[in-house]
Symmetry: C2
Subunit: 131 residues, 2 copies
């Protein structure tokens, strides 16, 4: 199981990196940016829990997107809000087409049904494992 789940994740990672290369972002950066566009002002903690990443990882992701002028952060008290820049928002169509392409490239191999079921099962099990 240990190597099975690791291997799946690494191969998915590779496939995803390949897909998002054309927008110059890693898959995590891309998904994070999409979430920010979808919900401007969203906070790092929310991003972390939705992306299933640790808060520190999310901070690093945001930093990089900020360098690229795709998002900006504002600090209000202890809270941080993340907003997309116009340049970030402009990427949205391309990002969406990458999502579609990525989805297609694995569901073409696995079949729509099977891939949906797999995702469902993996999520169910992940939740069960560490509630």
């Amino acid at each position: 199981m240990y190597f099975a789940s690791g291997a799946l994740a690494r191969k998915m990672e590779k496939l995803a990196i390949d897909t998002w290369k054309k927008v110059g972002l890693s898959p995590s950066h891309a998904y994070l940016l999409m979430m920010v566009i979808d919900d401007p002002g969203i906070q790092p903690g929310t991003l972390a829990s939705e992306l299933q990443l640790s808060p520190s990882t999310v901070t690093r992701l945001i930093e990089k997107l900020e360098e690229k002028k795709l998002v900006v952060r504002t600090n209000e008290g202890k809270l941080t809000n993340v907003y997309p820049t116009p340049k970030g928002k402009d990427l949205l169509p391309k990002l969406k087409s990458c999502v579609a392409e990525f989805h297609d490239s694995y569901s073409a191999i696995l079949g729509k049904e099977e891939s949906a079921r797999l995702v469902h099962n993996i999520n169910k099990i992940t939740d069960k494992l560490f509630p």
Copy 2:
């Protein structure tokens, strides 16, 4: 799918790290050592393909095990053979009990059936994805 597989792998990794902490090895190091004990003289390439890791990663894993005097390498021509040391072999019982413990800790949650099926499905899909 991208985050689902990543999240599962990270949680499995965490569970595994926890399990193998008592022998002072990471899960990958532990599995590699078991393979070496099981098949003394095994070559890095074989280890890489069985563990589903890249050759360079395997080299790094072996290096660390060598530092800890758990394995030794011999070079014969372009081939490298990896052998367990007595100290390495002594660890075997503990390693095996970690495997059992790790296996138990997730199959306790998922059920024997379900976890076996999941591993099977993940492997099937990984193979299909990148033959």
